[in-house]
Amino acid sequence: MALDPGIVPEGRRTFMQEVIAATPGGDPHLELCLQCGTCGGSCPSGPDMDHTPRQLFAMIAAGMREDVLKSNTPWFCVSCYYCVVRCPQEIHITDIMYTLKRMAIEEGYYRESSAAEAPDFSETFIDFVEHYGRSFELGLATRYHLKHHPLGMLKMAGMGLNMLIKGRMDLKPTRIEHLDQLQAILQKAKELEGKD
């Protein structure tokens, strides 16, 4: 466990400063955490997290980079925003969870978390979005489940079939008209973010 010694060499940022800088949309107030536990108490999936969000913030402050990025906490965040509206210090908790997910993927730590498949789900999802401009549930379910839950696929197949019967799922994806325009925008955005 690597603890922040409290002294950061000049010109380098603390882990907390990195997380703050990587969170877009105004000051996320992360350094204001009072450790009150409102977030951990409010979280619907909190009982299944290996660290509560509050603990994670203390770990960020302590510079425990690896432990934070290996944690399943961000992947168990359901984006319900309960913590955000209840936080007495107005910390942008949900956005910070997104930041931590991105950092975990970039640095490859997520594979060691107990939610190792979650990024694949997200990646499969956006893959369809980038190729068609719209999401494609049948493709998403098939591809993701074939990869990770080949057995569970049988269970899912029942539901998928049901959805087809009820007319709630298409066999073919919908493609938007100006897909090239969208792809150009996304490509440019990736370049700007330095993640081409």
Binding site: A22, P24, G25, G26, P44, S45, D48, P74, W75, V78, S79, C80, Y81, Y82, V84, V85, T94, Y98, T99, K101, R102, I105, A115, E117, A118, P119, F121, S122, E123, F125, I126, V129, G133, R134, S135, E137, Y144, K155, M159, N162, M163, K166, G167, R168, M169, D170, I176, H178, Q181, L182, A184, I185, L186, Q187, K188, A189, K190, L192, E193, K195
Partner: protein, 331 residues
């Protein structure tokens, strides 16, 4: 009420939530809400894109805002409406953060420029369908359209997360215990239960990440509805509807329960009260069949007698504080 809204249906309404789409169009027509689909809109990225990349995710959403901005508005105020809570959140969040952070706005616009587009933060006012109906149309107009009041139908108003939270534009200003859907359903003649988990989470995409976690979240919602003897849960988001409806059988299997609670979109319930046939508003597409509970709708309102008996207080009991309904709590 604005004379026209740009309509952003989102991927779900095209596919699994087609019933929501159909009933939205039905209700909009009845209420004189003019909807015009955003041309060539793309997916909002749901909760997935932000987890992989930040700027591309904001650019993805912003393309839709830019398209809406570019529609012909005749110089009028631009209003965009999304019936899906996740789409609503992503659209309003992108607009809000672009306004809040000039740096983000500049980068997003640089990306948009690669596609010949541009978005000015604040140019489009993003609404959820619920607030259009509650605030712009109003309860009175809704009530005028009711031809078959839903007397006797006990409904659980289920708001879920993303409409009420984080509410960047302070439309609802009530992230915890809202009443607007309650009041809307009451205006339709239904009996609205005091649903204690009305803003709890349906689990979102958790069904794909950790099924145990997701099923537990869904169970909590079903159990509370059953405890309060609700005939149906009324939802306003395709994700909530799919989780509660599509996974109900799995919840029953997993926990050994026996719930049969139909999950309807609020527009479907409105359509019913407006006299639509079930087919006109997509009833029949849900996994837990809604038709049996619709038989509970009565001709006459439930007797007033019950209420009065409840009001007469026990002599020993202490007075109860009044509930704060018009919410002005948070700063």
């Amino acid at each position: 009420m604005p004379n026209r809204y740009a309509y952003y249906p989102g991927c779900s309404l095209e596919k699994n939530a087609r019933a929501y789409h159909i009933s939205t169009l039905y209700v909009a027509e009845k209420l004189g809400v003019a909807l015009e689909e955003v041309p060539d809109w793309n997916c909002c990225g749901a909760t997935e894109y932000f987890a992989i990349a930040a700027l591309p995710a904001y650019a993805l959403v912003a393309r839709n805002l830019a398209l809406a901005q570019g529609m012909d508005w005749n110089g009028g105020q631009r209003h965009l409406v999304a019936p899906c809570s996740a789409c609503f959140l992503n659209l309003s969040k992108t607009d809000h953060y672009m306004a809040d952070s000039p740096q983000l706005a500049a980068q997003v616009n640089e990306a948009l420029a690669a596609g010949g587009l541009h978005y000015d933060p604040g140019a489009v006012f993003v609404h959820h369908l619920l607030d259009v109906i509650v605030d712009d149309v109003g309860y009175e107009k809704v009530q005028e359209m009711v031809t078959k009041p839903l007397f006797g139908l006990r409904v659980a108003p289920y708001y879920g997360c993303l409409v009420t939270r984080p509410d960047y534009k302070h439309i609802h200003n009530e992230p915890e215990h809202p009443f607007c859907l309650d009041d809307l359903l009451a205006a339709l003649g239904a009996t609205v239960i005091d649903y204690p988990v009305k803003t709890a989470c349906c689990g979102g995409h958790m069904t794909q990440i950790s099924e145990d976690t997701a099923l537990e979240l869904i169970r909590r919602l079903l159990k509370a509805a059953a405890d309060y003897r609700a005939d149906a849960i009324v939802a306003l988001c395709p994700m909530c509807q799919l989780n509660l409806d599509g996974y109900q059988a799995q919840v029953n299997k997993h926990f050994g329960t026996d719930y049969h609670i139909p999950i309807l979109y609020f527009t479907q319930v409105m359509g019913l009260a407006f006299g639509a046939t079930p087919e006109e508003i997509g009833i029949g597409k849900e996994f837990v069949d809604a038709r049996p509970v619709l038989n509970k709708i009565q001709e006459k309102p439930p007797e007033e007698g019950k209420k009065r008996r409840k009001k007469r207080r026990d002599k020993q009991a202490l007075p109860m504080p009044e509930l704060l309904r018009t919410h002005t709590g948070r700063k």
